[in-house]
Each structure stands twice: as structure tokens, then as C-alpha cells.
Symmetry: D2
Subunit: 344 residues, 4 copies
């Protein structure tokens, strides 16, 4: 059994890692940290896990964590993960970082979007961007994986096969209209996420300025060799979990429905991607590591409508993080992740 | 006091007409009909209206309705409104039809989309499409107004000023991504609208085949003289009321944010259109006849993001119907419609 | 036109007063205050009111308020209303206080439950507890009305006719099981009211220790002359508005369904109380000043099940406050309050 | 591997059995039936299970089922399970019936509440009522287990330890106020469960006449030897899953909080019952077989407030059914059921 530490265990992502790891046959969680609740039983912050864990929350002490664990998931908030990740790597640990701190290739771009200096730039070159299905081979050989953002995961997976085949017209705009459940905003209470403000509403936010945009652009550029023209509109959706992303993808040749379907057969042996012939719905992926993808031709056939559904906390965070751990450890990629979702 | 009949009073649209008309100073509802519940007290089907109305529901008898009322709102389901509307017009009544039966100019197109022959084609020429802010003058002189669909209302109002100024590039695709509350699907129980199927989900549906698409295209063609290339993706959103429509509108010249805002000043003296500088949210229009519009430039400035919010039952149905009645009667357009919405 | 000030205008209760007062024919809001947002336009904090008000928010300056207004609604949070209310009364204003600060007869009890000294005890004797239907005559002659809490309103109205007729067995326990929408918790974001924590849950809280309990007990004692044995279980319900209160009321004689119905005819000429023969549902009172009451016999006939539904922000706060203002001003009690609710 | 058939696989209970059985190490589902969808792939009715099952739905043919399977879960609707269960037992199969058809001891009572003759009365004597924690030993030796209703499960588990110790005053009324998520009403669309009718509401229903009442009374009588005086108020709660049951239980002696807690230690070695010191919330049991129980003393100490939370589809249906299968097969009772829940 590999010993696991979770740094920042009291948020929704931490809770989800803990939930999923109860199903994992090769790991044991030995250390959980929390800045605010150190000393308390883990289940006091996650009552739903009562009966599953008896650990107490600890303060973040990198050396102690390094002693107690072989593999570390870092689920801290943005800008606070840099230093502990750096130290854990120095201590020889394997790390999946679920924050945004190691996602961008460029320290300059990081500074621009996150307003702090990146103080572990030496790690940026060798870290791998953890979009599992795309960077599988690199992830296997990596000690530090930057787990993708939830919006980039829901966007890049459906787009990737079209990019890979050179079918995308990068001179036209790629329109991404992405609706996220509220758990994507984290567990801290804010005026915008107060129940009556969200419920019975639908709030577009950060239009043109969401921090997941440079991440999406970076990866499309990697795939295609050309910076894309992306328009990205995120929304706060009054549900707990799930991101439904609709992408209006410009094509450089016409594609019929059956040609579109053929492109998506690129995923036919992927265990966590389900290409379906009816519109994807977040209901069908709740609690799972699946990314459901549906695709529709348009009258012009020069634009394809791609709709993906993921659970932002699973494929968009903790599930993909465990998938990456499985790859990094040389295990079957699906270990601990095949539990079906919850419907309704 | 003008006497009002509501034909088909037990659905959500009927209930909303009844709700709004309690505030109207120049009307009195004298007749309400229902196919299934004739003979029952109106409030047995609308318990929230108890204390406001003492009417009983009647069967649909056009001559009786014509005797009892001066003005008729027809809120029947599609294809069943043609005949009663025809008879009411023959009886000299003024009518606002809230179904889709008189929205399309072309009987052939109607047959294609609704799969029945249009048996009152003689009315199609003189009926007016009731997008109040756009066709105000024609509506004033009309006896039969076809009340617009909810999606077309949320789409056309923000797009209209750009079309009118010739700013839209009609050779590129207009992308309409529209999320509707469940009341938009009507009051009849269906498997798709069963609570646990909708709740915690987000369901795209009828992609490329929604019946509001020909209506949108017809009106854009009227404004612009050229059939548009529209892509229309509707969604069932787990809220009761509201449509949030995001339109990615292609421009034939670059527009900065301030130029965009200037275009929207076309609406500056409109009482029911609020142009706002933050993203529109259905929360802010719930229960009102407002259409909130927000607009955002994009990096290329060749596409503008337009976001509108309406209450599908008010500006998208009953409210606009009353606004049209006010116009048809020569009254102040806002009579009975200025009550603020409900938040939260 | 009477000039109205609203002290503490940015919360949900403040917003609701503003919403309702747009319908009031004899008042004009001239002054709105906010501690945090002074200087901003009122509608920046209440976007749904855009087009209805053009006021700016001001700091709380009692003398300025007194100059600008004739009648004041104080919608501050508990313990912060005492001083401004005292000063407004000294300035000769009529006041409805929507906080809890003047609800309890006893300053000692206030100190026990709110943990601060009551510094305006001289006002406690002449202030009237504003349960409109019960204390109507006293309210008419009062300058200071303490507006009842939402839970007490939903509890006391159905219980009152039984108490008045001496039908309640005060030696047995009165069980109150009351489910409240989240707006009842106010507009400030807290961990407990963060959307994903509330949604899809149902949280009992403050069992036996809710601050509305002494208020309920005080009033039952007034009605009956004997302190009751109340058990009060409140819940946070995942909806925006509404309190559904179920009371298991012990009787000192057997009552059949028709005898129960007869007791409730006490309310037959009340405009805001609707006694209904099917179970009350908060859906039917949303946005209204109605209290719906349904009552059911039990097999023993020694206990009656009373179920009331109110909108916590209207009959449970702003609506009843305006009803009280109408009484204090000698106006028709229903002015501005007859607008029907919103369903769905 | 034991071969499993699920008769009536397309409802929510069928889907939940299928979900949970993917985690079960000793079973394999070999046969799934559906009246309406026979011939279709199972996943066409349960899209969330895509990738987990490749079975097709079959018609209900008892002999074919008997050939294909060793153990049968019957998840048909009430009154339609009698005959297939009878035949399956005749064919020597072990059966858990999740309908109400074998829950009541008395055929006469069954006829009274379900309005049909019970045509398999010979089975009523030997069938066991499957409240696992209470009837464990009998279940182990049974071939036919009647799986308890969701409301009775949530009610009886917290009450049982008090009954067993003779602490309940059966001459006073036991008040049960139980709020259920909408999946408890089944998967068929009805006017009452149409999304906008349920959402933002809270509907009490079937007061004094719910079919789970005789089941609750039967079991309390078994435990105590005396028919109880129960008052049962169920509600439709606008969430997908979960029942929160609050029981006001009359005691025949005073109990302090610590004495109450001591009574509940009866469950200290139960794997699926979690006694907690804060109010139970359905959020914490979503997707799990747990029953969370919290208990609170009252001022008189002659009544205890018991609050239980279960997932109606798991401990209230499919989970307890699998727990019963595990007992009937002589396996570890928790096989396949220890997966943690989903929060948020």
C-alpha cells in the first residue's frame, strides 16, 4: 500500500480525493492537512465521511508529510501551492498539484494572471500538464503533475481530436460557452455563492478574463502550433456539481455528422470518455470520472457543436488527479475510479 | 373597463396573464376557459390566485366568449389555436394569440415545422408579429397579434439594434446559446420535466431542430433582408423561470466596447429594456416584463457577445401579450406591467 | 404622499420593503441607508429594482433621516436597532422596527437571548408587538411597532384562534416543526448558507435554542395566561423564500374536522389569511402577504395538525411591516399589499 | 459469482440496485426486465450506467429469469409484484421484494390499504420484514424478504432502541414529521412531480392516509406489544434524494441527553447506523446505506426529538435490499455497500 498525503483536505476537492481513495486498492491515506482546522477530526469537516476515516487534520509541515507519505496531492488554493510543492519535490516525493500554480508553461504568464511572482520556475520545465488522455506517456515519467483546471478539461477533451487531425480553422473564433456547478467556486462562502443569490439564477461571470482562458489557449497552441482565437463565457449554474461545456468549433473543411463521429472514434478505447449520440447532460456523469461527449453537425458543416459533460470535482479535479497518480505509479489507469455515478 | 377573456387559462401562461391583469387598471377578466377543468373554480387550478379571482372555468365556446368579452388572449397549445382565433376575429374581437400558430408568415413553413395544414391563411397577411418594441406601430393598428416565442424574444431584442444599423455580418454564423427555465416547457407533466430528471442537470435539446428557429430566422431576415446562418442551442435549466440567451454576433466591422454601448442606446427610452454594464442574470428579471441586455466586446472586436435575460412567462409570454394589448387599445404601453420583480 | 425612510436597505428585508412600496399609493421612499454601501446607487445592491428607484444609499444619520421622512422602517440586524429606533422616536417619527430588538416585553429576557443590555427599556412598555391580525387596535395607536419574527408569525396565526377559544391543552407539549427558506437567514454569506452546503440538503438547526422561541412563548402566554410547553425545531430548506410551519397542537377536548374548520372561521373576514382545505404549500404564497392555513384532525381528535405557509420576507417581515404602517397611519390595511404572488 | 436478476430495472430503485451491484464482489447481474422498454439496451434508460453494463432489457418471463439467475430483486410497483414473487419462490429462488406487496402481515390490512386481494397469502407467514438491523437473524434464514418502505426505515430505526427498552409511552401520540426527496415518488412523471410544481415549494401530502403508516404501526406493535398512536405527516421536498424524519417520541420516564445517548449505544457496533451529536442532514448520507441518527432532549425530558437521515433509494430501498441479500446468502452484511456518499 502506497501512503498518501492530502495537503489542503477540507475543501470540496480534498473531500472528493478522500471519497474516491476509499475505493482505491493500492493506497492508504495517512496524512491530511488543514490550515484552519488542524487538530480536529477529519470527519468534523466532512461529516459525510464518518465511518470511512479516523484521521485527524494536521498543520502543513512538509517534512512530517514527507515522512508519513509516499505520494502527495496538493489541494491548496492558487498561489499558496508553489512553496510546499517545491519542498515536496525536493524531498523526493511524487506530487499531483490540483491548484493552478504549475499549469502555465510561462512564469511571465503566471505572473500576469495570478499577480504573484512564480518562485519555483525551475519546476515548470519538467512538470507535466496532467490532461491524462492527451499527455499519458509524459505523465507516466513525471514526478510533478499539474492537474488541469475544470473548464480546460471540459473544453480540451472534445476539441483535441479535431485539432490533432488538423480540422480546426484557427483563424476563426472558437466559442466556448461553459456552465459550471457551484462547487467549482470552492468551499469558502462568498456573497456570489450565498444560496439565494445563486438559486433560481444563472450568472455569467469573468467574461474574457477567466483564469482558465490562458490555460485553454496554451494547450490549443500546443496541439495546433498556433494561438487560437478563443471566446470563453463561463456561468455559475445553480447545481452542486458538473460542467456542461458547449464549444462552437470552426472547421477548415466541411464535416458531416458521420465524419464528425468518425473523428471522435479517436477515443474509442478510452475508458473515461464516452461518446454519445444524444446531448450530454451533467446528470449522467455526477460522481464519476467520465467525460461524456456529444457532437452535432450544423447546416453549414463548417462549424461543429461539441458538448461535453464532466463532474468538475472528479474528471475536473480529484478523479483526474487519481488517474494521473495511477499513471505516475505505473498502475492500471482506472484503479479506484470505476464506481458509477449517482443518478438522480 | 374592458372585459377580457383568457382561452386556455390553466397553464402557466394563463396563470401569468391572470396574475399580471390584477394590476391592470383598465381591464376586468370576465371569462376563463379550460378543456380539462371546465366547471371548476379557477383557483382550484391556480391556488396562488385564491383571494384574487372568483371565476369558474368554462368550456371553449367562441360565441359565449365573444358575448362576455371585448378582448381575448388565446393561450392554447400549438395547432389548437387556429380555429378559435379565426372565429374570434370573425366575431370582431381583438386577439393576442400566445401560441405559435400565427407567428410564421408562411403557411408552408408552418406546415413544415408544425406538421399540420394552416387553415386560417387569410389571417396571416394582416396579423402582426408582436415584438412590441420593434413592431409597435403596426401592433397599434392590428386586431390580431401573434405573440412572439420566448426564445425569439430573448434573441431578437438584443440583436435588433445591430441589424438595424447594418452591423451584422450575415455571411458568418450567428450563434445563439439559450438556457430556459422549466416553466417554458408548459405545465403538462412529461418524463423530461419530472423533477429528479431536471434537477441538478442541464439538458441541451432539439439542437438545430427547435421550432423557434424558423421564427428567429424569419425576423432576422425581415430586419436585414438576408436569411441568416443561425446556430441555435436551447437548454432546459433547473430553475422555474427565466431565459438567459447568449448570442455571439458576427460583425462586419470592428466595434469597441463603447461603440457597442452606443448601438444599444437605441433602447434608451424603452421602458422595458434595461441595458446594463454587468452580465445579465435571470434573477433580476423574475416576475417582470424587463429584458436586461448586457454586451461585451471580444479581442477581435469582430464578434460581440450579447447576453439577454427575460422572464419567459412575462416578457417571453404574458407580459409582452399585455404590452401588445395596451398598444392595440391605444393605452399607455406599460399599464399593469410596472410591478417590480421578485428577488431572491 | 407620506415620505418613507428605510434604515438598512440593502438586505433582503430592505429590498422587499422597496419592492412592495412601489405598489403603495400613499407613500414615497425618500431615504435609504446602508452602512457598507453608502454613496452607491441603491440599485447597485438591488439590480432587480433598476428602473424603479434612482435613490443613492446614505449613511445612517438619524437627524437627516428625520428631516427627510415621516415614517421609518428599521431593517437593521439584531442589537443594532435599539439606538436608532430610540432616537427616531425621540424625533417624533413613527417607526416599525423589523429587528428583534423590541419584540420581547422583558429587558431581562432580551439580555438572556441576545447577550446585550437593552438600552431603551423605556420604550418596551408602549411599543406594540406587530402581529397585525391579533393586535390591530393597539397597533393603530402606536408610534413604535416591533415587527414579529418570521417563525412566530407562521406559528402564532394558526394557533391563535384555538388559544382564544380556550381549546389548547397547555399542560401538553406544543410541537412546532418549521421549515424556512434560506433568505430567512439574511443576505450575509456564511459557511452554512453557501450554495452547495444547503442545496440538496435539509438542515435542522438551533433545536431548543432558537431566538424566536421566547417570542413564541411570550405571545402564547399573552393569549392564554399560562406559559406553554413548546418544542420548536427549525430547518434550513433549500428554497429562496417561504416558511412552512407544522404545529401539532394539543387540545383539551376532542375536535372533529368540521369543528376545527369552525374554529378557523375566526379568520373569515381577514384579507390576508386564507384557510384552505388542502395542505398549505409555500409555493402558493411566494411574494404575497398571505398566510395560508390548513388544519387536519387526527385519530384521537385530541391533537390538531395545523400547517401554515407564509413568505418569510413578506408576511414574515416586510409585508407585515407595511400592513402595520397602514394601521398606524389609519389607512386601509391592505394598501400596496394585494399584488398576487408568483407561481411557479 | 451469484447470478442476479432485477425485475423492473428501469425505475430509480432498479437503477440504484444496478449502481450498487457494480461494487459487489460476489454477484453478477445477468438479467434485467422492463415492461415498457424490453428489447432496448439497459443503458438507454440509465445513461449514467453507460460503460458499466451491456445487458439488454427483457420481458418479465419468470421461468427464463429463474434459469438465468440465482437471486432476484423485484422492483415492480405495488400490487404487481405478488404474482411474479410467488412464481419465483415456487421456482426455488431467493427473493427480495422491494414493493409493498409483502410488507404487511395481514392480508386483510393489505386489501384495505392497497385495494386488491392478496393472492399469495401463503407466503405472508414465512416472509420476513427486512429491517436488517432488527430482524437480522430471521432474514438470514429466509427465502423471501419484504424490503421495508423508505419512511418506515427512517422512522423505525431511531425509535427501535427506545421501544426495546420499554421507554416509550404508548398512550401518548408519536409524531412523525418526514420530508422526502422526489425520487421517493418513483420515476413516472405526474402533475405533482413536474419540476416547476415541486421546485421552490414544500408539499405536505397524504396526511393521515399514507400507505407507509400501517407498516410503521405494525412494526411498532411488534416491538412493543401495543398498537401505537402515530401521527404521520409526509412532505415532498425539492431535492432528488433523502428522507429526513423528525420523530417526537413520548417517553414514560424522563431522559436527559446523556441517558438518551446511552440508549442509542444499542447501535454502537452497527456498520450502517451513525449516531451523531449534531442534527442529521440528508446531505451527509446521499448515495450511502447509512442511517444517521441524532437525538435531543426537551425541557420536559418526557419527549425526545429523534432526527434520522437516510437516502431513500439506498437504505430506504436498494441498499437495504442488498444488505438483506448479503444476510440471506450468509455473506458479510456490508459487501458492496461501503462506498462513501457524494457531497456536495
Amino acid at each position: 500500500m502506497i501512503k498518501i498525503a492530502i495537503v489542503g483536505a477540507t475543501g470540496y476537492t480534498g473531500g472528493e480525493l478522500l471519497r474516491l481513495l476509499t475505493n482505491h486498492p493500492k493506497t492508504e491515506v495517512t496524512c491530511v492537512t488543514s490550515h484552519q482546522s488542524a487538530g480536529e477530526p477529519l470527519v468534523s469537516r466532512h461529516p459525510f465521511l464518518k465511518g470511512q476515516y479516523t484521521l485527524d487534520l494536521e498543520t502543513l509541515d512538509v517534512d512530517k508529510i514527507s515522512e508519513k507519505s509516499d505520494f502527495v496531492f496538493v489541494a491548496l488554493s492558487h498561489t499558496t501551492a508553489i512553496k510546499p510543492v517545491q519542498q515536496l519535490i525536493q524531498n523526493g516525493k511524487k506530487v499531483v498539484d490540483l491548484s493552478a500554480d504549475f499549469r502555465l508553461d510561462s512564469a511571465a504568464l503566471y505572473k500576469k494572471w495570478y499577480a504573484v511572482e512564480h518562485t519555483a520556475q525551475e519546476l515548470l520545465q519538467n512538470r507535466v500538464y496532467g490532461l491524462s488522455e492527451v499527455y499519458r506517456d509524459k505523465i507516466k515519467n513525471s514526478s510533478l503533475v499539474a492537474n488541469p483546471g475544470c473548464y480546460p478539461t471540459g473544453t480540451l477533451l472534445p476539441v483535441f481530436p479535431f485539432l490533432k487531425k488538423g480540422l480546426v480553422d484557427l483563424d476563426r473564433e472558437i466559442i466556448i460557452d461553459a456552465k459550471s456547478g457551484v462547487s467549482g467556486a470552492g468551499r469558502s462562502a462568498t456573497p456570489k455563492t450565498h444560496f439565494p443569490e445563486v438559486n433560481e439564477g444563472l450568472l455569467p461571470y469573468n467574461i474574457g478574463s477567466h483564469r482558465h482562458l490562458p490555460e485553454i489557449n496554451q494547450e490549443i497552441t500546443h496541439f495546433s502550433g498556433q494561438p487560437p482565437k478563443t471566446i470563453f463565457t463561463p456561468y455559475l449554474l445553480p447545481v452542486n456539481r458538473g460542467i456542461l461545456t458547449t464549444i462552437y468549433l470552426p472547421l477548415n473543411e466541411t464535416l458531416t455528422q458521420s465524419q464528425i463521429d468518425a473523428v471522435l472514434t479517436a477515443y474509442k478505447s478510452e475508458g473515461f470518455i464516452r461518446c454519445i449520440d444524444h446531448p450530454a447532460n451533467i446528470s449522467a456523469v455526477k460522481g464519476t470520472n467520465y467525460c461524456d461527449i456529444s457532437a452535432f453537425e450544423t447546416p453549414s458543416r463548417r462549424t461543429v457543436i461539441l458538448i461535453s459533460a464532466i463532474d468538475n470535482l472528479v474528471k475536473g479535479a480529484a478523479g483526474q488527479a487519481i488517474q494521473n497518480m495511477n499513471l505516475m505509479m505505473g498502475w492500471d489507469e482506472s484503479l479506484g475510479l470505476m464506481t458509477p455515478g449517482l443518478f438522480p
